[in-house]
């Protein structure tokens, strides 16, 4: 394995094929993300967006092609799963917090159990992260006592506690009501501005236009079209992209 350097893509997806049984969901997807880049994936429902980003942290396996994260080859049969998961954080549409743990415990669990770090230091880090997502007064609240937007921000902090190199966001605002969408988007925008590499599946076009370095449009398991927001929204060529954008904008 050649050593990964900052000049190489931090996430490199090459010609990925994915099947669920007989159903082919990804039909040769390629996509590179450089360190510090923010990439948005958009596309109609069922086009394979979730499947694609779940492949990046090996929640889904792939049947063809390669995925590398910072030089770690996910198709390697001896893949060190822990090494991968330390590098990649993921935030889900339904937050998926641990309901039996308080907000701060949710954040502290992984660094303590997985990284075996010292409790006092982890608590300090968790407090900092709570402040970063603007929830310093909710440390001891259980997820069931938080609003959707607050839960989602705890979930983001929980991922950040593992200090990942890449963050994956799968429609993280789709389950929120319009007023709380903004507070979560602001949190992600802060992250992006701090230089975190982000791959987002989103339906928030305004947000994508504002923060994305690159936008990919998927349909039926292929990338139909991609480009920086400046050209993507105004100069889409493919009729499928045009139709999708006309419906959503």
């Amino acid at each position: 394995m050649t050593e990964w350097t900052e000049k190489d893509p931090i996430v490199s997806i090459q010609d990925v094929h994915k099947y669920f049984g007989d159903l082919q969901v990804l039909k040769g997807v390629s996509l590179d993300v450089m360190k510090g880049e923010v990439v948005c994936i958009i596309g109609p429902s069922g086009s394979g967006k979730s499947t694609l980003i779940r492949c990046v942290n090996a929640l889904n396996d792939i049947q063809g092609g390669t995925i590398k994260v910072r030089g770690i080859d996910l198709t390697d049969p001896n893949l060190d799963m822990l090494a991968l998961r330390k590098r990649v954080g993921m935030v889900f549409q339904q937050y998926n917090l641990f309901p039996h743990k308080t907000a701060i415990e949710n954040i502290m669990m992984a660094p303590m159990l997985v990284l075996k770090e010292n409790e006092d230091e982890v608590r300090k880090l968790a407090r900092e992260l709570m402040r970063k997502v603007r929830l310093e007064d909710k440390e001891d609240a259980y997820p069931g006592e938080l609003s959707g937007g607050q839960q989602q921000r705890v979930a983001i902090a929980r991922s950040l506690a593992m200090s990942p190199d890449v963050m994956l966001f799968d429609e993280v605002t789709a389950a929120l009501d319009p007023e709380t969408v903004k507070e979560v988007l602001v949190t992600i925008k802060d992250l992006a501005q701090d230089g975190m590499t982000c791959i987002l599946v989103t339906h928030e076009m305004g947000f994508a236009r504002e923060v994305a370095d690159h936008i990919y449009f998927t349909d039926h398991g292929v990338i139909v079209e991609h480009g920086p927001p400046s050209t993507f929204f105004s100069k889409a060529k493919d009729p499928r992209t045009k139709e999708f954008l006309s419906q959503i904008l």
């Binding site: 942290n57 929640l59 799963m81 822990l82 998961r85 330390k86 990649v88 954080g89 993921m90 889900f92 339904q94 998926n96 917090l97 641990f98 309901p99 039996h100 669990m109 992984a110 159990l113 997985v114 990284l115 609240a141 259980y142 997820p143 069931g144 006592e145 938080l146 979930a155 929980r158 991922s159 593992m162």
Partner: protein, 254 residues
């Protein structure tokens, strides 16, 4: 103190003389009293041993059922089918009389041949496996109630399968399982009376010997058995409820 005890004993002795059907013999005769007390103690020991063992079987069985090993899964499935679909009393007799024959013996004094597993031992094993079969199903239902997405969240944070199970799945599954577990454990405590069938000297066994010897003590002793079980099961239910409320999560579930 001594005086009060004597007064009570005298009262029951007179009661038995006046009303021959109400001979609370174990209230004034030390030998019978000893039988009752040792019977209650044996029932408590049996119950506690079976409660603990059956829960261990339940957790391990439920974990095994989630394994990828088909053989392991079918062994657990076979175990559940056997113990759930046959009468616990027959299981007890089978363990004691059939399996008991094949267990090795030892000789403490060079004369007597003692089986390694006593009748008490067989009662604990048989009843624990019986209740354990239900506990496996109960815990499995609890585990299945934990959303796949919660498990994925913990895996994507780098938790191993074992850590996910121990720190996320089990604590949540246990909360879902408690009401059903409660029922099964209550049943288990009551089922310990069947150990009578292999001469385990628990409360029912002792009571029967008392009323066989003293037919006049039949009603009072039956009454005693009922009262003791009401109290024991009541205590169990109370502590289960306390456990349940200590695990309640603010803002989660009902």
């Amino acid at each position: 103190m001594r005086d009060t005890m004597d007064l009570i004993a005298d009262f029951f002795r007179e009661l038995a003389a006046d009303y021959p059907r109400w001979n609370f013999i174990w209230m004034y005769e030390p030998l019978q009293q000893g039988k009752v007390l040792s019977g209650i103690w044996m029932t408590i020991k049996l119950s506690i041993a079976c409660l603990i063992l059956s829960m261990i079987i339940g957790v391990l069985g439920a974990f095994a059922q989630g394994s990828r090993n088909v053989i392991l899964r079918s062994i657990v499935q076979g175990y559940i089918q056997f113990f759930r679909n046959t009468p616990p009393y027959v299981q007890l007799l089978f363990f004691y009389f059939a399996l008991g024959q094949f267990t090795p013996t030892y000789s403490p004094d060079g004369w007597l041949e003692m089986p390694i597993i006593s009748n008490v031992g067989w009662a604990i094993i048989s009843l624990s496996f019986f209740a354990g079969a239900f506990n496996v199903e109960i815990f499995r239902a609890g585990i299945e109630a934990v959303p796949e997405s919660t498990r994925e969240a913990s895996e994507s944070l780098g938790f191993s399968r074992g850590q996910t199970y121990r720190y996320v799945v089990l604590p949540l599954a246990l909360r879902v399982s408690l009401p059903a577990l409660n029922n099964n454990l209550v049943n288990l405590v009551k089922t310990t009376t069947q150990a009578f069938g292999i001469a385990v000297p628990e409360l029912l066994y002792q009571s029967v010997t008392i009323w066989n010897d003293y037919p006049s003590a039949l009603y009072p002793t039956m009454l005693l058995v009922f009262v003791v079980y009401i109290v024991l099961v009541g205590l169990l239910v109370m502590s289960m409820n306390r456990w349940e409320s200590s695990m309640r999560i603010p803002g989660y579930g009902s």
